[in-house]
Symmetry: C2
Amino acid sequence: MIEMNLLEALAAFDAYGTLSAASVYLHISQPALSRSMQKLEEELGVKLFERTKNRMALNSTGKLAASYARTILNMEKEMTTAVISHNRSLHTISVGYCAPSPRMEIPNMLSSFYPGTANLSDLQSEEELLKGLRQNRYTMIVLSHPVDDAELGCQYYGSEHMHFSVVPAHPLAVYKDQGVPFSAMDGETFLQAGNIGIWENIKKQKLPHANFILESDLNSLNTIINSSTLPGFATDVTIRLFRSQQNKNRIFVPITDPEATIRFYCVYLKNNTAKLQKWLDYLKSNS
Amino acid sequence: MIEMNLLEALAAFDAYGTLSAASVYLHISQPALSRSMQKLEEELGVKLFERTKNRMALNSTGKLAASYARTILNMEKEMTTAVISHNRSLHTISVGYCAPSPRMEIPNMLSSFYPGTANLSDLQSEEELLKGLRQNRYTMIVLSHPVDDAELGCQYYGSEHMHFSVVPAHPLAVYKDQGVPFSAMDGETFLQAGNIGIWENIKKQKLPHANFILESDLNSLNTIINSSTLPGFATDVTIRLFRSQQNKNRIFVPITDPEATIRFYCVYLKNNTAKLQKWLDYLKSNS
DNA sequence: ATCACTTACGGGTGACGTAAAAATC
DNA sequence: GATTTTTACGTCACCCGTAAGTGAT
């Protein structure tokens, strides 16, 4: 059997033309490479080189062998990358989100269910998420609606309700219990986090005349909110998550339109059910 | 880099299911195989097996690796056979003939021009010969006519002239100097060697009413001829080649038809000109 | 003189086999 | 008790690097 290091030596010689040059590339001594080539010829029982006293060159048989060597080495390289990447995928849960708040909550929960398992997050449009799921780029995606598909599993995760965030002096602050419709604030200027996923669509639809000042860095956004009287947004989820660091000077006015509530669903390839079993069981037990 | 022996060990384990069985197949000790598998996992940095205290099984990563291992091993096997067969083809001249007499003469001549080079012979129809030549199954073929083709070289080799072989008492024996046409013997029964190549066509065309008793073994044929008065065939070439062992009781009557003479041409792929140079030079110098 | 390859020689690594242990069937 | 895997240990082979030699440019 021809060992891989001999194949690599042959390919290197073919690439570099002389033993000395190839030996430098291979980080071995030149006599060692010379012996390797002799051994290769001996194992195959075939002359691979035309030799003059101070020059070696592949003959036609050697050229053929070198071309095989290259393909075998490529396949070996492909094998290692494929095996390693497959292994990584076993220890990674990649989740795609349509909105920021599940993205804030879920990774920590997954980490506790799957300790030692990397979990990657991505915020995307729902079409991109579904495409990525089918291409196995996501182990699971979180959508704002259930799906019905033979290949896909679907499990309700939870809901999120949108509020306006206003200073106490704001005229609408008094509606903090009964709520207001989106239309009550259309035309105002809002402070807003950068990427809000699916909420972007709802905002455009329900507040067509409003202006938005975007700040993608959450710390900066918080600083700005603290020093500003401009209204902003908050949801039941973000209010809960950031209770400790919350600006006391803000009133959260719930929005009464049905579009202000989103129900989230975890969607996954049924192939991956086993991998997600613990997580799905947890969700079922909570609903 | 993953060495070939590790790949073979992995493939063997996949095939046999236990280290012990695989180690028997591989002719190594079972602990050695155990270490090989550990080393493979270590080199890839990946778990390939589910292990219980006295059982090992490939996990999904291991299955993937084993399948790569098989393809790489197959390619390595393919490499050795391809290289060896290519090498053999360099040291072999395979010649296809359309008639027996060049096949009797040429191999010895080639051996003297190419000592240490195997030379294979085959008797075939001219269509088969041309097909085989283009498929590189023949280094050279001998046809009864020249060819004109951009890819093919062609060199006149020599001619052969057909005679009837009759006992002295035969009525036509007296024509041994002036010759007779084929038609003079049509309808008679002949003794004939088994495979006479292109001559078969000529015989069928020019002696449509004759009968032929075939004997493919030349020694047996000779015995039969010696004890028989039936006519047969001989050519200038066979008369010359077998002069020593010739039956003194035979007269050779030349045949006057133009079809009784064949001119032979060596045809080869121009690709192979270098390989046949010596031989072609010899033929040119003789014509 | 430099370069390129081969041969000779000594040393260290690593792969092997034997032996033994642990655990399962 | 038989099987299967792992660990421990000693041995030997093989591959490597250094050094030296040959021949060509």
